[in-house]
């Protein structure tokens, strides 16, 4: 494709020139970009929009991309900012695809749920609690536990000091714990 050829750049790593194209970035990181958008926005359509706008912005700025830095972090940074903007724009209406009460409800004791449905319910509760976190903590929690980034990497992606990220992770976990302890 002409676009991928046009955007081919040479990335010198340890003296070796290896080509990195925009197409490579899209192919390798689209699930992760979509995932971080989904976990921050809590909405699939919103996540698709965010992923698309992320790659559109990345395409436009690809010639200015700092080749010495990881493409993954750059894309995650754009995606995180896009997701935050989306959430702010939509406000509360977007925040919830799962209702709070539904999120914190315990399983019906009369039913005998199998292991799979219990696990699913647990996942839903945790996801709901994460998507209810204040944006400040939600972003670092998602980057830490979904994208598996280190504190330093999160600091790089979010542009916050590493010490701040550490504190926000602690605080975010504490908020999650208290949210998960809420009984219906």
């Amino acid at each position: 494709m002409a676009a991928s050829v046009a955007l081919r750049i040479d990335l010198p790593v340890f003296g070796v020139t290896s080509p990195v194209t925009f197409a490579d970035g899209v192919r390798d990181h689209q699930d992760e970009v979509y995932g971080v958008a989904l976990r921050i926005t809590g909405d699939r359509d919103a996540a698709l929009d965010v992923a698309s706008s992320t790659f559109l912005k990345a395409y436009r700025a690809f010639d200015r991309f700092d080749q010495t830095r990881p493409l993954r972090h750059w894309l995650l940074r754009i995606a995180t900012n896009e997701a935050i903007s989306y959430v702010r724009k939509r406000g509360r209406e977007l925040r919830r695809s799962v209702d709070v009460e539904e999120a914190t409800a315990l399983p019906d004791s009369k039913a005998a749920p199998d292991t799979e449905s219990m696990a699913r319910e647990e996942r839903e509760r945790i996801r709901a609690a994460v998507s209810l976190l204040p944006e400040l903590y939600r972003v670092v929690i998602v980057l830490r536990y979904f994208n598996e980034l280190s504190v330093d990497e999160i600091a790089h992606v979010t542009g916050r000091p590493a010490s701040t990220v550490g504190v926000q992770l602690l605080r975010g976990r504490a908020l999650l714990r208290s949210a998960l302890e809420v009984k219906p």
């Binding site: 494709m1 979509y34 989904l38 996801r127 979904f146």
Partner: protein, 139 residues
């Protein structure tokens, strides 16, 4: 107690990771690279025109500013220079009057400048010695 423990377990980091992981049913449709490129190119002319207009305006403004300065400098510079010179002379005069009075006083043979200076040095030395002694006692 058991409930607390359950919640702690629920919040276990490994479970948090598992809960946030994308499931197969959540995987998005493949991003259409061609569509992104087409979108970017479709929007690019508008950006290009806006950027061009912005650059032209900035260039015209900069050229106008430089031209204005170039035209005004020959007429303003002599007046500005003379004003600055006059201000400098005035300041120098204001400072020189009290300084000359002090200098003439010091130059009189009846004022023992050397004796006063020696006294000041002696006082300072004694003060420093006393401070050192105090420090030795307290340490």
């Amino acid at each position: 107690m058991r409930s607390d423990r359950h919640n702690d377990d629920l919040f276990d980091e490994a479970r948090l990771r598992r809960a946030l992981r994308l499931e197969a049913s959540e995987l998005p449709p493949r991003i259409d690279l061609a569509a992104i490129v087409a979108d970017a190119r479709a929007e690019r002319p508008a950006f290009a025109v806006a950027a061009l207009v912005s650059r032209v305006l900035a260039g015209v403004a900069a050229a106008g500013l430089v031209g204005l300065i170039a035209m005004a400098l020959p007429t303003v510079a002599p007046a500005l220079a003379s004003d600055l010179f006059a201000a400098g002379i005035e300041t120098l005069t204001r400072v020189a009057i009290p300084v000359s009075a002090l200098l003439s006083l010091a130059a009189q043979p009846t004022v023992p400048i050397a004796a006063i200076a020696a006294l000041a040095v002696a006082i300072a030395y004694e003060y420093a010695q006393r401070r050192e002694r105090v420090l030795e006692v307290t340490s």
